[in-house]
């Protein structure tokens, strides 16, 4: 009896769960696209909001998101990569480095809101940057650091030791072997990790809540020391704070769609890098 039912249970369980997961994905995308697409237009992405944000576009939010992501990259990439190189190429494999590695992995799992608190205490308050683009960018940079370190180290680890030895054996110094042999081989992996990390950062809201994001700004582009708008926060605002929530729903859907498109584009470029890489292997 049980034996007879097995195939039913088997396929039932597996297909049901896989189907549900796919359903979630399709439902999310379908809802966002079908309701967001009508709002999309050139004007929507190229103008500022008007009429108390009930009309107009989301240009300041797009620019803010891009600027923020760029600052995040500028902060996190060089430091993260240098730290990963230090850990993987120079640091001895002692209990200390093992603890450091474990801590870095744990930091990657720390809730993003805690980075927001830290950014507030350190950058906004401690370093007197005020709520601003730099403070928020640095906060997101911190948030991204552990991910970049982990992915870069992973990429470095995948470069076989015999490559390093080959360079040393022809008389290269350690730095030269890293620069000429290790890094070039690791670059695709590092890039993939970097892009994925940035796509995550671009979608974050919690860490910037207190460090510089604004409800509205009357100029499309800000300066480093000013507040700014971003797509995720704009979506949050339009869906919870705006006085005419119902009326601006199409704008909220449009913002959500633009945000998703931006993040997916970043992800796709990561897939593309990975694909190019695997082709060369």
């Amino acid at each position: 009896m049980i034996k007879k039912l097995t195939p039913v249970i088997e396929w039932g369980t597996l297909l049901l769960s896989t189907g549900l997961v796919c359903f979630f994905l399709v439902a999310i995308l379908w809802d966002l696209i079908s309701k967001g697409a009508p709002s999309l237009s050139w004007a929507f992405i190229s103008t500022s909001p008007t009429d108390g944000m009930t009309r107009g576009g989301i240009l300041p939010a797009i620019i803010g998101t891009l600027l923020l992501t760029i600052i995040t990259a500028l902060v996190a990439a060089p430091f993260g990569i240098c730290c990963a190189i230090y850990l993987n190429e120079y640091a001895a494999d002692s209990w200390l480095t093992r603890i450091i590695r474990a801590s870095i992995r744990n930091l990657a799992g720390v809730p993003s809101i805690i980075y927001g608190l830290f950014g507030l205490a350190l950058f906004v308050q401690g370093l007197q940057m005020g709520t601003s683009l730099v403070a928020a960018g640095l906060t997101l940079g911190l948030l991204s650091l552990p991910y970049i370190i982990i992915t870069t180290e992973e990429a470095l680890r995948r470069v076989p030791n015999r490559m390093r030895e080959a360079a040393l054996a022809v008389g290269a110094t350690q730095f030269e072997s890293i620069r000429d042999v290790v890094l070039p081989s690791a670059v695709p992996g590092m890039l993939t990790g970097l892009v994925l990390t940035l796509s995550r950062a671009a979608g974050e809201t919690a860490p910037i809540l207190f460090t510089g994001v604004a409800f509205y700004i009357n100029k499309p582009a800000g300066y480093l020391n000013q507040e700014f708008m971003t797509l995720p926060y704009h979506l949050y605002m339009l869906s919870t704070q705006h006085q005419a929530i119902e009326q601006v729903r199409p704008l909220a859907y449009g913002t959500a769609l633009v945000l998703i498109i931006l993040v997916f584009l970043l992800n796709l470029s990561a897939f593309y890098i990975r694909y190019q890489y695997s082709k060369h292997e």
Partner: protein, 253 residues
């Protein structure tokens, strides 16, 4: 070990990985323009010993080395030779071919560039090294091809060319034929025999026939110690230690 000129030697060498002692009081000398084979069961420390001579262990933090390692009469570790300078004079070919993931040309060019050899000289040196390593004919039509697309045997010969191009004084080879088919193997053996006119060669091998075919002198290691060293003929036909005899007759290992 007669009165030949000794090119490279180690006295009282010991090496630990962490707490584990891998080389115990090793004394060994490699005569100039001779081929020395290093044999012994897996894990006895052959590769480890070889790598001491071009300071490859500098990279692994947990390796600790004592003893004297001399190239001619210069100390490899304590003198005024830097690790980079040592490696420049003592080339190495690894057990697994490890060409850079670059073109064939670039593979050899890299070492020349790094070592300040002028742009004009390089093409000549590269061609010559490839010829010396019996691989020129197979690759001359497309030097821009990625080295990783070569066959295993070709890659190994390319690595030898890379080492040779720098005109080191000694070439260390760690089982260069272990991953190769018989035809590639015989090509590389031929090459090694030719190279000995200009270089001092130390080769680790698992293959008793190979040692007998090419080595002038053979050193037998066991559990981190050198059990016996002598002319190849003597080691294989008239070993002094029982252990050596057992090993070369294939009774263990």
């Amino acid at each position: 070990m007669n009165n030949e000129h000794i090119k490279l030697s180690a006295t009282d060498a010991r090496l630990w990985f962490g707490k584990k002692q891998v080389l115990k009081n090793v004394n060994v000398a490699f005569p100039e323009n001779k081929i020395t084979a290093l044999i012994g069961p897996s894990g006895c420390g052959k590769s480890t010993l070889l790598r001491c001579f071009n300071r490859m262990h500098d990279l692994s933090a947990d390796a600790r080395i004592t003893g004297n390692f001399l190239l001619e009469d210069q100390d490899l570790y304590r003198g005024n030779l830097s690790a980079t300078a040592v490696r420049r004079r003592i080339g190495m070919v690894f057990q697994q071919a490890n060409p850079f993931p670059k073109s064939i040309y670039e593979n050899i060019n890299y070492g020349l560039k790094i070592n300040d050899i002028s742009k004009e000289e390089r093409p000549g040196i590269i061609e010559n090294a490839l010829k010396e390593s019996y691989i020129w004919d197979e690759v001359k039509d497309d030097l821009q091809k990625p080295a990783t697309r070569l066959s295993g045997g070709q890659q190994q010969r390319l690595c030898i060319a890379r080492a040779v191009a720098l005109r080191p004084e000694v070439i260390l080879m760690d089982e260069p034929c272990s991953a190769l088919d018989p035809i590639s193997t015989s090509k590389i053996e031929e090459l090694i025999l030719k190279l000995k006119q200009d270089y001092t060669i130390v080769i680790v091998t698992h293959n008793m026939q190979q040692a007998q075919r090419i080595a002038d002198q053979t050193v037998f290691m066991y559990l981190g110690e050198i059990i016996e060293a002598g002319s190849t003929r003597q080691i294989f036909n008239d070993p002094q230690a029982e252990l050596t005899g057992n090993y070369v007759q294939g009774h263990f290992g």
